[in-house]
């Protein structure tokens, strides 16, 4: 077990080192893509379209609201989609070498978590540039990001266990993920949903995370105990369910991939 977890870290390290081998800009791409995301939403929404939010006194208020949600969603959806097809991708390997599948899945999560940290760090630099206060409250980001990653790890593993049985899932997951994005107040404000479909905010597990990030970025507001409790329970219950299902199904999966 310990060996396999260490192995996952070494895979993640290698994955991280080798992803952009052969490209001209090399590892610069890791920071380039979040920078471009941030840039697009600042320049386009705040400078060109003059979208204004009057919740705080900053001409970049809308961008400040957007950035954490977008970056968190990128990390969330990337992990979910990469995990859901992981069995099909690694089928060749696990049929021949006795390395448990969760090692590969864990390595995906580790790499993506690191990239998530990196992008949020860039987001905080952006805040500094647009003169939005960065306070100690921002330290709350770290545990919440970890919990988000644990939650999506569990969810992704559960999905990945069913994809070998239903190959359709591979096609369906990206579509559902897109729908999920638009049902979460990331681009728009939560009030727009709260009046018409308040249930959507309650049943959307990802919203519990996003709301915390947005409150920290926009208002420097620490998360409430209630929301922390909700995400902690969600993360660990999902992980436990994933573990149980994994144990039950892995033997059968090895027979069919």
């Amino acid at each position: 077990m310990k060996h396999n977890i260490l192995l996952a870290f070494s895979f993640a390290k290698r994955d991280f080192k080798e992803r952009y081998v052969g490209t001209g800009l090399g590892q610069l791409w890791y920071i380039l893509s979040p920078i471009i995301t941030i840039f697009i939403y600042t320049v386009i929404f705040s400078d060109f379209m003059k979208m204004k939010l009057n919740i705080i006194d900053n001409s970049y208020a809308y961008s400040i609201y957007l950035v954490p949600g977008l970056l968190a969603w990128t990390a969330f959806s990337t992990i979910l989609m990469r995990l859901s097809t992981s069995f099909l991708e690694k089928a060749n390997l696990i049929k021949k070498i006795n390395v448990p599948m969760y090692t590969f899945q864990l390595s995906i999560v580790i790499t993506e978590f690191f990239l998530f940290l990196l992008s949020i760090a860039l987001g905080i630099i952006f805040l500094y540039l647009v003169k939005q206060p960065v306070t100690l409250t921002f330290l709350w980001m770290i545990p919440v990001m970890i919990l988000q990653t644990i939650f999506v790890f569990g969810l992704g593993v559960i999905l990945s266990l069913f994809t070998p049985f239903f190959k359709d899932l591979k096609e369906a997951v990206p579509i559902v993920v897109q729908l999920w994005f638009w049902m979460t107040p990331v681009i728009y404000m939560k009030e727009m949903l709260a009046t018409k479909y308040p249930m959507l905010l309650v049943i959307n597990p990802f919203y519990y995370f996003v709301e915390i990030y947005q409150d920290i970025f926009v208002f420097s507001k620490a998360p409430s105990l209630y929301s922390l409790a909700v995400i902690t329970i969600m993360a660990f219950v999902t992980l436990a369910v994933a573990g149980l299902l994994y144990k039950k199904m892995i033997g059968t999966i090895k027979d069919i991939i």
Binding site: H3, S10, R14, L93, K96, I97, F166
Partner: protein, 406 residues
Amino acid sequence: MKKVLEVKNITKIYKIYKNNFDRLKEVFTKKNYHKEFISNKNISFDLYEAETLGIIGVNGAGKSTILKMIAGVVVPSSGEILRHGRVTALLELGTGFNDQMNGYDNIYLNGTLIGMTNKEIDSKIEDIMAFSELGDYIYEPIMTYSSGMSMRLAFSIAIFSEPQILIVDEALAVGDAHFAAKCTKALRERKERNMSIIYVSHDLNSLKLLCDRVILLNHGEVTQMGEPEDVINSYNFLIAKLNDSEEKITIKNTDTNSFGTFDVEVVNAEILGSNSNSNVISAGENAILKLELHSNIGIEHLNIGILIRDKFGQDIFGTTTKNMGLEYKLHKDTKYQISFKFTLNIGAGKYSISTALAIGENHLDTCLHWLDNAAGFEVAGNYATEFIGLSKLYPTLSDLEIIDDK
């Protein structure tokens, strides 16, 4: 001796479902939705330190499945496998290589996958590259490699990972003779350092050379386990039975390679080793070649000839009964049988037997029936003293004497 592997009552049943949904339902409910295919049935054996164990069986006997279960990539339906030490398996070619990456990086990738630490690989990478003999190709992507090259790399990594148990599944068959010999040597060296090997091959010679013990699998069950010589003989018997059902009638049909007046015909030819009881025979074993003749006319002075050829069509040995001073008188419409008994002092390989019936010195005078490929056999393994080459001679040795030059 220390046990390094204990296989206890392993059974593997593949369940066959109408669709994957049924399969999934069965994981969570107690209802039955499947038909069963038994791949391995109640297999038990132990593997000891420094032992080489061979596994043979006809295609579909369950060899690969049992290897995969030992390697841990397939989960047995019931039973238990206890491994004491690192198990490395060369199951199929290019095990765990990333095609896009070059050979050098793949050594690290593959090495960590089979359980080596980065430090271990650092210290062995020079040896691995040297052993694989890939030269500068090591810096090219794996997808440009030939199958032989990726096998060489896979084998080199496997052998330098110093496993306690190495599983080799016909992988050696891909390499050229030079590399195969090098592998065999490397395997022997590791064996002296207590490595155990499980070896699966259809090459009976290398099985006899390498293995201390052989298991014969048939229809997923262990039918025999013991000395390589004995087990391989039973295997040959099994193969011969399979062949029998298909090949009995071939002689009648092969018009192309027979000619003559057909006044007397060879209707059947069969060669059997006295111990193996099949047409796979050890060098130095006694063999009986049985011919069945049918005469359409009465004839005097029949000369019967046989000719053994190797796979290149080269004549290895031929003789006629007339050479031995015998000619035969045959009545009309009668079946006859004659046996040639000899010690097969020829080297390993595949051979064919041609037969000739003639009147006079040889088939050029009056040929009654010349038949190519009347029977075939294989020489595998060896009785008593080892030798190489095409023929087994029996030299006697003088004493070693000091030469007095004065």
